[in-house]
């Protein structure tokens, strides 16, 4: 606790001293009468003041919330000495909005415990450390001020609000484990594929009796097996376009969270590659645990400025399994990410790119700025054409559009390309 004199104390002492000195010099007792009230206030205020002793503790009603959820931060104060006036200011980090004024002024009696509830709204995904509290206690008559900062940080994890996805992008190839994706190959399954002549070893239940009766020989049904797939979500975090608290990285993280949740619900294996200034990866996995791992990894995603050149060579081989669908979410702003994705395609990966459009976050200016903006848009078009020429489906996703729109665009391109 740092305790200091308030300006009022120096002012009262100065006025009283000046009046007393003037009374002596001028030999006027009236000036002593002028000094008396200030001297009395000074003496009384100092006599009544004692160093404030109090305890402060912080708690949150929930440690994990979704974006736009509300949490209540509770500050509990316990005073061992009376505090005539206590100013409490809760410092809230950007991304979390207090729904009530975060600064309060109150009075605490000796031994009194007070609870201050501050409702907060989590506006943006991420990991936060709440709990910086500034306390300022004033003595009676406000002559002395004691200040203290409480740094008992309480963690809050805000998970991204998921985008709505109705239909997922199907990979070209499936894996060997059972899942919900109908494989292109024929085998044991429930999805009808074709009929063929009976062969030794075929099970009787597979016999198509109607076709057999018509052809005079035994024919059996063939089916497509239901298999799972490997999906790697490639999140480009080299750069982002940001404006008024919204940005391309926010959209990409929300989309990645939604896609991971939906693919994992289909029993697919999902991996994550955060490709940016800081490289992060999660090996493909399935189940609830993997969903939590991905959610936690997404919270730590941030744009870290870096000049270092990076390509896919630095990714561990197991991060990108063969026949996996690599679904990239990128604003296509950084050449390193653009080149890395083309490199993946050249290595034969099944690649689809959702171009998280930075255009809504970078409106055109006037004059030369407008010309520069047009050139930049043309350059982005050229990058997209490079992908299309390489056989990579790429769709632009604008802020405010459902994620399903670019996914359907990618799907239709892939369907046309496979014909």
């Amino acid at each position: 606790v740092s305790r200091s004199a308030a300006p009022k104390l120096a002012a009262y002492a100065g006025l009283a001293a000046a009046a007393l000195l003037a009374a002596l010099v001028l030999r006027r007792p009236e000036l002593v009468v002028l000094a008396a009230p200030f001297a009395l206030a000074l003496a009384g205020g100092l006599a009544l003041s004692e160093p404030p002793r109090m305890r402060a503790s912080l708690s949150l009603d929930r440690e994990r919330v979704l974006e736009r959820d509300e949490v209540v931060l509770t500050l509990e104060l316990e005073a061992e000495t009376p505090v005539a006036r206590l100013d409490v200011a809760l410092v809230v980090p950007p991304g979390v909005t207090p729904l009530e004024p975060p600064a309060r002024a109150l009075r605490l009696g000796r031994g009194e415990t007070r609870r201050i509830d501050l409702p907060l709204r989590a506006d943006r995904w991420g990991g936060y450390a709440l709990g910086r509290v500034a306390l300022r206690a004033r003595s009676p008559l406000g002559l002395l001020v004691a200040e203290r900062a409480v740094d008992e940080l309480v963690p809050l994890r805000v998970y991204p609000h998921e985008e709505e996805v109705r239909r997922l992008l199907a990979p070209r190839e499936t894996q060997l484990s059972a899942g919900n994706e109908v494989a292109r190959v024929k085998g044991d399954g429930i999805e009808f594929a074709d009929v063929r002549p009976f062969a030794p070893g075929d099970r009787i239940r597979r016999v198509n009796w109607r076709a057999s009766a018509r052809r005079g020989a035994l024919w059996v049904n063939e089916a497509h097996p239901e298999r799972n797939t490997d999906v790697v979500l490639f999140l480009d975090s080299f750069a982002e376009a940001r404006r008024e608290g919204r940005g391309t990285l926010d959209l990409a993280v929300r989309a990645a969270a939604a896609l991971a949740e939906r693919y994992l619900a289909r029993r697919d294996r999902v991996g994550l590659v955060g490709f940016g200034g800081v490289l992060r990866w999660l090996l493909p996995g399935m189940g609830r645990t993997q969903a939590y791992r991905i959610a936690d990894a997404l919270l730590d995603t941030e744009v870290v400025f870096s000049y270092a050149w990076k390509d896919v060579e630095i990714l561990p081989a197991r991060t990108l399994p063969p026949q996996a669908l690599v679904l990239a979410l990128s604003p296509l702003l950084d050449d390193r990410a653009v080149t890395a994705l083309l490199d993946l395609r050249a290595r034969g990966y099944d690649l689809a790119v959702v171009d998280v459009s930075p255009l809504p976050f970078a409106p055109p200016g006037h004059g030369r700025d407008e010309l520069g903006h047009r050139l930049w848009r043309l350059r982005r078009e050229a990058v997209r054409h490079r992908y299309l020429r390489a056989g990579v489906a790429v769709a632009e996703w604008h802020d405010g559009e459902p994620l399903q729109v670019p996914l359907e665009e990618v799907r239709s391109y892939r369907r046309r390309a496979s014909r």
């Binding site: 606790v1 004199a5 009262y12 002492a13 001028l26 000036l31 008396a36 200030f38 008559l141």
Partner: protein, 133 residues
Amino acid sequence: VLTVVLGAAAALRLARAIPWPLFGVGALYAATAHGPLDGWSLAVGVALLLAAELAYAAVDVDARLRQEPELARRSAAAVASVVVAAVAAGFAVVLAAGVEIGAGLPLATAGAVAAAGLLLLVLRLATSSSPSS
């Protein structure tokens, strides 16, 4: 002019500017006081203290702070108590000043020592910022 300066200091929340108009009023009063002991000095002293308390209270008002209603009531009660106590103290000083005692070197020395002590206290408090737990 001094009232306007005090009002401006309170409105602009300049706590360090508040003593100067009060000092000016005191100086004006000292310059105009003549003759025997002026009975209005008590009213002037209490009025100066009340003006100072109200000005500092105005400086403490912050729209960003949500203040408990009880806090405002208690602050008003504290100001009222100080003013009442100041009236009593001033009255005691007026009465003491009216008492005829022989002036001399011991009394002047005591007055000088008291004034110098108060001045030292002012300097000590103005420069103190002691950390404590």
